[in-house]
């Protein structure tokens, strides 16, 4: 794993997000949703974004495709795909890359397919649009993809309506559709959350296979650290609209620097902790209008002091790609023993 990371690091990033600020325009005021998000995804790499509900994971993934809800907009920052800047407001430039270069799969496959159209209609739409295939060619193309993602009887499935398939099968269909134009980046927003556990494992295996066979980079958004650790080369931990810690799986699991990451790791149930009460982080994520000027996590952090309340912490590079947004991370070794 380490070796392949070194190799991909040398290449240019496929996707670069620089200092991205997204705000919610409410009547008479503007509330920040994402504040200064910075992230890179290199070709063939799997990057995970974790965080609890409401921290901005989905907003981040939607903003990459210009699919933000009407009430939200990008205030500043830059999204670059293959060294080309995507203008925030230009629907057309986003539309050209959607599906063809960057494809997205969603949380709930049951509602992500139009119940009024056959699977074939929906699976051939993209190939006809982006690749200019005829109806018949597109159907053959779709059938081949269905076979690749492990769906049985693809020709018959193409004639079926979505309600006849199970959630796991529908998610496979969604993945096949997402792959139909050979995207270089796949954004998977909680791709297994709506599925039961055995199907989850199958879908993750499928994503892994796609990464290996097609060399597709994957941006995996999840609240499940287990899934992320299992799949990703690099992890970004989000809290209240910021990336608070970023690093390789080993960096984050072996020597987490940010108290939030440490708390998240402590909250994972393990067999060893079977008889203990499960650790929960006290408090809740601050609301959009209660974030304050200091560290976003200070109200829930066991190590917070005066400085954390008033001053926003800097992003400290720990080692290599490992960085944390915390005052304490600067004080070397201050927290590394806290996990246990």
């Amino acid at each position: 794993m380490q070796a392949s990371n070194e190799e991909t690091d040398a290449r240019l990033p496929l996707l670069e997000i620089r200092d991205l600020h997204v705000e919610l325009t409410a009547p008479r005021r503007r509330l920040p949703v994402l504040e200064g998000v910075r992230l890179e995804v290199r070709p063939g790499e799997t990057v995970g974004i974790v965080g609890e509900s409401g921290c901005g994971k989905s907003v981040l993934s939607l903003s990459l495709l210009g699919l933000l809800p009407p009430a939200m907009r990008i205030r500043e920052g830059e999204i670059r795909y293959a060294s080309e800047t995507l203008p925030h407001a230009d629907e057309e430039s986003f539309r050209r890359i959607r599906g063809k270069e960057i494809a997205m799969i969603f949380q709930d496959p049951m509602s992500a397919l139009n119940p009024a159209l056959t699977i074939g209609d929906q699976a051939t739409e993209m190939a006809r649009l982006h690749l200019g295939l005829t109806r018949r060619e597109a159907r053959e193309h779709a059938a081949a993809l269905f076979r690749k993602v492990g769906l049985p009887r693809p020709e018959a499935l193409l004639r079926d309506y979505p309600h006849r398939l199970s959630g796991g099968m529908l998610q496979r269909v969604m993945i096949a559709i997402a792959l139909s134009c050979g995207p270089k980046l796949l954004i998977a927003d909680e791709p297994t959350t709506a599925l039961d556990v055995t199907i989850q494992a199958q879908i993750l295996d499928l994503l892994r296979k796609i990464r290996e066979e097609e060399g597709t980079a994957i941006l995996l958004v999840s609240h499940d650290l287990g899934v992320i650790a299992d799949m990703c080369d690099r992890i970004a931990v989000m809290y209240a609209g910021q990336i608070v810690e970023e690093g390789t799986v080993a960096d984050l699991f072996d020597s987490p620097k940010h108290p939030y990451t440490i708390a998240l790791l402590n909250a994972i149930p393990t067999p060893a902790k079977k008889h203990e009460k499960l650790f929960a982080i006290p408090g809740t994520v601050p609301a959009l209008n209660e974030r304050g000027t200091g560290c976003r996590f200070h109200s829930r952090c066991p190590h917070a002091d005066e400085r954390c309340l008033l001053q926003a912490p800097p992003v400290v590079t720990v080692r290599g790609v490992h960085s944390a947004r915390c005052w304490l991370a600067a004080e070397e070794g201050g927290l590394s023993n806290a996990v246990g």
Binding site: L65, L67, P69, P70, R95, R98, G99, K100, A103, M104, F106, D108, S111, A112, L113, N114, P115, A116, L117, D121, Q122, E125, M126, L129, H130, M174, I177, A178, C181
Partner: protein, 269 residues
């Protein structure tokens, strides 16, 4: 429960198709010419020669009723088309674009809706010449707000649907999103509205013609016939009875049909 809902639907279908059949027949055959006068036979009671009797000019009421179905259905069909087309343009723009477009269009629709429909049609018909096309346009315009609201509601609902987001995330353009993913879902409520508007249109045409502002004589129209029958209410009550019954039946038929389709749709949803 199911059977009761089906009764509504099937009764509606039955009445409407009977009337459609009558209209189809009238295109090829009517017992007497609709405008054929016979003073010797004026104001005859219903009998074997004239099933629904004759009017003050000795014209056969059945023949006039039959030709009247053409007027009624033409008015219903074209005014609903105008309403649906206008409503689609306004409603889809408002629902899909949202923001100030939505505000602007829906306030305009509210204003139009607040205005009494029949009054609007009266003004329209008075300004322009009273005739069939004018009547159709006037009635069609009244329907625009109703359709616009229904269609806007559908767009608002389905614009945010997961499958629409997914389609956009995979590169679908506005045209694909609107016509492939949203319109088919909005269609069922549009059909219900259309069916209910159809009966309103027929009633409105009858009312305008009754007031002398719709279809002009000697063309047969049910409302016009009611108007003409007024003076003979005591002498020839059947004169008013036939057009009255047919207006009632048609309105009832389309209302039942609309309700039936709505129930069918709600049960599925």
């Amino acid at each position: 429960m199911n059977s009761r809902k089906n009764v509504t639907l099937w009764l509606g279908i039955g009445i409407v198709s009977a009337l459609l059949l009558l209209m189809a027949v009238s295109l090829f055959y009517v017992p007497y010419g609709a405008n054929e006068m016979n003073i010797a036979h004026r104001l005859q009671a219903p009998g074997r020669a004239h099933w629904f009797g004759t009017d003050n000019f000795g014209r056969d009421i059945l023949s006039r009723i039959m030709e009247g179905t053409q007027t009624a259905f033409a008015v219903g069909f074209f005014s609903v088309c105008i309403g649906a087309a206008g409503g689609f343009a306004v409603g889809s723009a408002a629902g899909y674009l949202g923001k100030w477009t939505d505000e602007l269009l829906m306030r305009a629709v509210d204003a139009l809706m607040a205005f009494p429909g029949i009054l609007l049609a009266l003004i329209f018909v008075t300004i322009f010449k009273a005739s069939l096309p004018q009547t159709v346009i006037a009635i069609g315009v009244i329907f625009i707000p109703g359709f616009a609201r229904v269609i806007r509601g559908g767009f608002l609902q389905y614009k945010e649907a997961d499958f629409v987001k997914a389609a956009r995330g995979l590169g679908a353009g506005h045209g694909t999103v609107i016509f492939r993913h949203i319109v088919p879902h909005v269609l069922s409520s549009v059909i219900v509205t259309a069916s209910l508007c159809f009966s309103t249109a027929i009633l409105a045409e009858a009312a305008l013609s009754y007031l002398g502002l719709g279809v002009q004589p000697p063309d047969p129209s049910w409302g016009r016939m009611l108007n003409e029958s007024q003076s003979y209410m005591n002498k020839a009550p059947w004169f008013a009875l036939a057009p009255g019954l047919f207006i009632t039946a048609t309105v009832l038929g389309f209302n039942l049909l609309g309700d039936g389709i709505r129930d069918l749709r709600d049960r599925r949803a």
